[in-house]
Every structure is written in C-alpha cells, then in structure tokens.
Symmetry: C2
Subunit: 296 residues, 2 copies
C-alpha cells in the first residue's frame, strides 16, 4: 500500500500525459477525418451511381444527376416532330463514306502555319458546324473564342511559352525533358503569332438557370471534345490546317486574358490557317482498320 | 495521502481506460490517414504540373507525363516530309464550309431506328474516318466494336435495360425519376435490337509497350471523344442516324460480354441505321452563332 501511495503522484502524472496524448491524437484524427470527409464528399458528389468508367468529371449540382442518353430536360415542353433524312442509294452511300474517309485521312497536325489571311465567313461556318454537336441534355456547353487581333495572339503566345518554359525547367522530370530534346520540340510556338486565327475552345463546366442557380452540364468535357472533332473535320473540309493543343497550366491565365467567366475552362487551342510553304510533318502511319475495329 | 492511497486502484483503472482509448484512436487515425494518403497519392499521380482545368484523368504511368501539343514520342525516329493541302479558291472554300454546316445541321439524335440492313462497307469507312482523329502522342487509343449479331445486340439490350431499371428504382433520387417521367423516357431501348449495327467505342486507358510495360495514353478520353465527333459527322454524311449514349454503369459488363481487355473502358454506344418510318424528334433549337462564338 505504501508503494501505491508513493506511486500516486506518478500515476497522476502518467494520467496527465495520457490525456494530452489523447487530445492531440483526437485533434489529428479530426483533421485527417475532415480531410477524408472532404474527399468523400467530392466522391459522393461525383455521381455515385454513374459509371466509374466515364472519367468526365461533370461538375454536379445538388438534386440533379447524370443521364445516359443525353436527352434534354426541357424536351417535355417541346413538340415531337416527324424526322426524315436524305436517303442515298447504296452505291452513293458507299462512295460518300469512302470520299469522306479519304478527305479526313489527308488531315495532319501541322505546326507550320502561314500568315495568309483566311475569310472570316469560313471561320464562322466551321464554328457553326461544331455547334451542331450533340451534348449531354442538349446544354451546348461550349464557347469558341476566335482570336484574330495580333496583339492578343501575341499575349497568348507569351503566356503559353512562359508556362511551357516553366514546364521544361521545373515541372517536368529530367527523363521527360530528355525525351522531348530528342523530339526537337521546345517551348517556342511561332504558329501562335502567324496563324490568322486562334480558336480557343472553352467548356462550360456548369451553366446558370434564369434564377442564377447552377445548372449541371452533363458530360461537358466529352460533349465539347465531340464538338472539337466536328470542328477538325470542318477545318479539313475547307483545306485549312491546325494542330490539336491543350496548353498545360495556361487555362486560368488565358481565361482571364480573354475575359471568360469562371464557369468556362479551356479545353483546347487550335491555330487555324494555311500551311506555310516549308511545312513538314513527321511521316506517321495510322493503324489499319483491323487494328481499331472488332466485329461481333 | 489516505485518499490518494484509496484512489490508487481507481487511477490504475483510469490509466487502463485511457490506454485503450489511445490505442483505438491511433488505429482510427492510422486508417484514416492511410485513406487520405491514398487520396493524396491519386492526386499526386494525376500530373501535378498538368493543367487542372483538363479533367481527362489519363491513367498516368511512372516516369511519363502529359504533353501539350500531342506530339508523338516516336516522331524522333521518323522522317519529316513536306506537307501540302488541296487549296480551294476562296469562294469554293466559303461554299464548302457552308455546305458542311448545312449537312451537319440536319443531324439529330434519333431514338427510332429501322431494322433495314446497311452495307457493312459503309460502317467500315465511317470507322476508318473516325480513326483519322488526332490523339495524345499519336497513341490512337480507340477500339470500335461493331455488333451486328442479333443475339449479342439483345444481350447488350438486356444489360443496359437491367442497369437502367436499377438506376430508376435505386440509384436515382425521387426528384430525378419525376423529372424523367415527364420526359416519357424509360429504360426500354428498342433501338438496341432494331439498329442493324451497334458501335461501342472503347477508350484504351493505357497501352502496352512491347516488353509489357504500361504505356501512358495521354488525354485518352478527350482523344476518343474527338474521334466520336468525327464518327458522328461520318454517319450524318452517309444519311444514317444514331443517338449518342453513355450507358450508365454498364461499361464493365459490356466489356466482359464483348471480351475486351482490361485496359479498355466503354466511352459511348452508338446504334446506327436508317430512321424508322415513324421516327420523331423533339423540336429543339440550337444556339445561334453569336451565343457560341466570341471574336477578339
């Protein structure tokens, strides 16, 4: 008993230490669970019942959710009208499909673009064509910013080259810089000055209802990418060239430069024009049909 | 002292309880920090220096990373060859751009597809056209699975309708089911049986080097979506119809049914055929050019 009595202050001290440890670990655990709650919330908000295979992180807004057949929410109020298409005889159909393939098969990503002017009406029409793309719930979540002002083009070039240089020197691993060196690629993008038009394609990650509530733009990235596919076909169809670029880390600065609202994020930048006289392309081949198509 | 002596067993008991609490909270905190580490790893792996605006969650493989101008890694070994395009006179260029827009502007998402046969050669050519799409680092990360076998089409329908019904009854909120009810949409998708061809477009989320190491497929979802845009244009160009669908939660089951490898994930399903005689479409309008284009 004497030993216990002697130990009592020691026990009291031990209790104090244990209490401090508990409080600290509670705090940590709380902070860390706040963190993981945050992550969980993000995960839960991102459509728990939606196919995880689809990576398009549509910004989800409360009490709305993804849909699979891209049907418009407002279709209920619309009249349904009979639909017909121009019907081609089979031979013509086969020919049309062949000619369309042959036209598009001449498309290449071209990094040498001449400064020759291009009619604005052509640019308008290719963007009109891109605007016929389907979109999740017919939200048409795209903005095509056409830059023809030389000063703005140059500012865009400065932003992109600056970020690219940082990418080179800071953000990329050494191996990657080496890989790129072999490619003779660098951060100088002359075509951003020379191309008569730069088309910057923004995806609207959400929309706004008339009462200012946020409106979900289902599959906005996929939708805008589809529209870009149609845009590329339209560019090829008129004999112009471009190169598909996704300027790394430049989106926010370009958005501010072009005064786009916060719900728009840069998806792609396409310089558009004629190829310059000395344009070259690497002698790439495409996969043959049997490597990309499987018939069941 | 007597009081302390009396309290000693109590203190000992308190210490035991505190130790148990500490152990438990350590355990929790460990689990939770493991969780948040996992989340952090995911975040860190997803290209810390890559533009966060781009949501395409390319599966990243060690010591490779995103790139901005989609240049091919193997271009270094390729000869660079002169590049020219067919050059149209300005008037013809304007006309071509206008006609292409008018052709695509007749495209609508059609959910009523006739069972009339369509020449396979046409399907081959529209997929060839889609295969001309640009892709991150020229990885061509797409597989087009063409289903013409009636039994397989029916199995696909069963999978999709089953999942859809679950979506209806379990995964969707009540509000959303109500919204859909107004749309007269349900989970019955007759076109999956009637369309002569279903094209299921898979994105290859990574590739394989010859030595079986994983190969990063940069921007694979954006690339495959662009290819789908070109495919939609090619379908429209031959007078066929389709509807853009992204079957919710069906990807894994459809992948297994169609015996696709694990690096392929379903992006889209397009039923392709002629419209049925009684086909209708909602009387939707598209945004005018001034609502989608900004000129700087």
């Amino acid at each position: 008993m004497a030993i216990f009595s002697f130990l009592t202050p020691v026990l009291a001290a031990v209790i104090c230490v244990l209490i401090v440890i508990i409080l600290q670990s509670r705090k940590k655990s709380k902070a860390s669970s706040a963190q993981s709650n945050k992550n969980n919330n993000i995960k839960q908000e991102s459509r728990p019942w939606v196919d995880e295979d689809l990576q398009d992180n549509t910004d989800i807004v409360a009490d709305e959710d993804g849909k699979d057949d891209w049907q418009d929410e407002e279709e209920e109020n619309l009249q349904h009208v009979p639909f017909t298409v121009v019907r081609y005889p089979e031979m013509e159909m086969v020919n049309r499909s062949k000619e369309f393939f042959e036209l598009l098969n001449q498309r290449r990503s071209v990094r040498f673009i001449s400064n020759e002017p291009v009619p604005r009406e052509v640019i308008n029409n290719i963007i009109r064509a891109a605007g016929t793309s389907p979109s999740g719930a017919h939200t048409e979540p795209w903005t095509f910013v056409v830059v023809e002002d030389p000063e703005t083009k140059h500012k865009i070039r400065e932003i992109i080259e600056e970020e690219e240089e940082i990418n080179y020197h800071k953000r990329m691993g050494e191996k990657w810089v080496n890989d790129l060196r072999k490619l003779r690629t660098n951060w100088v993008k002359e075509y951003l000055d020379t191309a008569p038009f730069l088309i910057l394609i923004f995806k609207q990650v959400y929309g706004l209802h008339s009462d200012n509530r946020k409106k979900t733009h289902y599959y906005n990235e996929i939708s805008v990418s589809i529209a870009c596919g149609i845009l590329l076909a339209a560019i090829q169809n008129v004999g112009l060239v471009t190169v598909t670029t996704t300027p790394l880390n430049c989106g926010p600065r370009l958005r501010v430069l072009l005064e786009r609202p916060v719900n728009e994020k840069l998806l792609m930048l396409l310089p558009v024009g004629y190829p310059s006289k000395d344009a070259t392309v690497p002698d790439l081949k495409r996969k043959p049909l049997e490597d990309i198509m499987v018939v069941v």
